[in-house]
């Protein structure tokens, strides 16, 4: 990991990085239908998602306004049932909203067809999941290649780029290993390499440390930190306040609505003595 962490100039992480201000966010989310500027990676306006659970309508999101600028490192936090998984599925273009707008890189994706969404997932989004979600029978190299396969890139070019991505997460020596021959931390690093291989606009992590022990967790969080420091837009969904506290900005969801949206210092200041979010 060390060569990865030290490659390139590293800004110090005091926790007070420039993030979008509340006023800027309000300005971009308050005008329905307006195309956000290019520096806004994600803008949602009144995002709603209802589920029909056997006749009963569950309102998972009840109008979420979120704006995330390029290069931000944002945690989306909330207890289970707060709607954070639903929001992450919508941001990740795995699902479509019941109502509201979702703009990704200035493009309205909430009205896109399934095929267009698949293309957006392929080009713009890199997923990192709690359960890694690697193909069990494929090697690390092939797993990392997968997004490039669906991008229609030739085999030789794919291999080169996948090997490069694995090198960036310090797994060059594990390329031909299958997931069951790798440790949890290594698997998650393969998943990160896969997420990054197609140079996505956002890295979208869903409880990335949920299946890892604490030392491996901090190792993975360091990887995210470094990526964010290098300018990668990172969005991390978690229910753990101490994990959320790694991000520069924390959006807290409650009952399908945004409860708070602060820089890290404001978020940590509100934490109770046990480190739990009130």
């Amino acid at each position: 990991m060390s060569d990865f962490l030290t490659s390139g100039p590293l800004p110090t992480t005091t926790g007070e990085h420039p993030i979008s201000t509340t006023a800027e966010r309000h300005a971009v989310t308050s005008i329905p239908g307006a195309t956000p500027g290019r520096d806004w990676v994600i803008v949602t306006r009144g995002l709603r998602r209802d589920y029909d659970m056997g006749g009963e309508v569950v309102r998972a999101l009840r109008g979420v306004d979120v704006a995330i600028r390029r290069n931000e490192y944002v945690a989306i936090m909330g207890p289970s049932g707060s709607g954070k998984s639903t929001l992450m599925n919508l941001i990740g273009c795995l699902d479509t909203p019941t109502a509201g707008e979702y703009w990704l890189n200035g493009v309205l994706v909430s009205k896109m067809s399934d095929d267009e969404l698949a293309r957006v997932r392929n080009k713009e989004i890199g997923f990192v999941f709690q359960t890694f979600n690697l193909l069990p029978r494929a090697t690390a190299l092939h797993n990392v290649e997968l997004p490039l396969v669906y991008a229609g890139i030739s085999s030789a070019e794919r291999k080169r780029r996948a090997a490069e991505a694995l090198d960036r997460v310090a797994l060059s020596d594990r390329m031909q290993h299958k997931p069951n021959e790798l440790s949890g931390g290594q698997r998650q690093r393969v998943a990160i390499a896969r997420a990054l291989v197609n140079n996505p606009s956002i890295l979208l992590a869903d409880e990335p440390t949920g299946n890892l022990d604490s030392s491996t967790s901090s190792e993975i969080m360091k990887v995210f930190q470094t990526l964010a420091d290098h300018g990668q837009t990172v969005i991390m969904v978690t229910h753990e306040a101490d994990i959320a506290a790694h991000a520069r900005r924390v959006v807290v969801l409650k009952d399908g609505m945004v409860a708070s949206d602060d820089r890290r210092s404001a978020f940590t200041a509100r934490l109770g003595p046990d480190g739990q979010h009130p």
Binding site: D95, A118, R121, L134, P147, Y150, S154
Partner: protein
Amino acid sequence: MLLADVLRTALIQIRANKLRSFFTLLGIMVSVAFLIAVIAIIQGMNAYVKENVASAMIGSNTFQVRRTPLNLAPVSDDQWDVIQRRPRVTADDAAVVEKAVPNAEAVSLQSGWPTPMVDIHWRNRTLGDVLIFGVTAPYQVVQDYRIGAGRPLSELDVRDRRNVIVIGAAVAEKLFDDIDPIGRDVRILGEPFTVIGVNQRKGRVLGQSFDGFILMPISRFEMLYGRRSTTTVSVKVPTAEDVAPAMAQVEEALRVTRGLRPGEPNDFSLETADALIAFWKTLTRVLFAVVPAIVSIGIVVGGIVIMNIMLMSVSERTHEIGIRKAVGARARDIQRQFLAESVALATLGGLVGVASGWGFASLIATASPLPARVTSWSVALAIALGAGVGIVFGVYPARRAARLDPVLAMRAD
């Protein structure tokens, strides 16, 4: 997604589940093997009948004037009654035929149907139930018999009603072993006959020997069996093209001789080897109709097996489909992947089926006299059939896979 990647992914999947893949394509394999083998056997039999049976029974470039038709197909009772009332074919008819076909190579008269069977004795040996024909000298030429030892029957033998016979190779072998049969005296129906010639072997056709016979001057034959039974006139013409005009000439001449009015049916039958071949073709036509029916049942069952296995595979790999969709696979990429898998499986089944059918056919070709021939069109048909089954029965599972919701799919184990 590149086509090469689609195929590669399909083959990796098939290879990863070797045993399952094998059982999946077993149905297609067996059906295709059956198709290939049966078509090869039918084709072989056709060729065999054309080359051997027909000419062995009638002779090449030859036709016959018969009282009863050489029809192997069933005849109705009414037709049979009419045939039974026909006049006999006699030496007089043979004379008419000879005059009608001046370019004939040979015209022979032989004892007609049914051919009697006799016991032939030599010293203390007896050979039972040997076919005995009364013939004129040209019969040897008409039937394409070649004399192996001694001499054929002559005009004089017929005119003088000599007690002489020519025997087939099988009779010579069984009765005399290694002893030279020429000049030996044998007894038939209590009367003495001298063997003057042995014909060369013609071989066995469909299990029936064409070498187990006795040829006797027809005049002598009639002394044994009486003159009341019918005879058959055989005409050999120089080339195949001469057969049809010669037959027309004979038909014309016989109708005139027999005083048939226009519109009245012939009271004799004209037959060629083609009649045999035609009959054989009607037989194999039935086979050609039945075989596809059996094969299509097998193929449909094989297709259903493939569909089931693919559906199972889709539900087993739901999680994988979710992952693929998450990283950017479109519905059509997933559909193509699963379709490629079922098509590859079915085509593989077709190929293995062709190979085993081919093997079976060549086994038959070596172990039996049937020259089983695998034709290229049947191979093409079999492979196309396999691929077609893969597409038809692969579409539904592939659609199901393609329509899976990525979020729900990733939640599956």
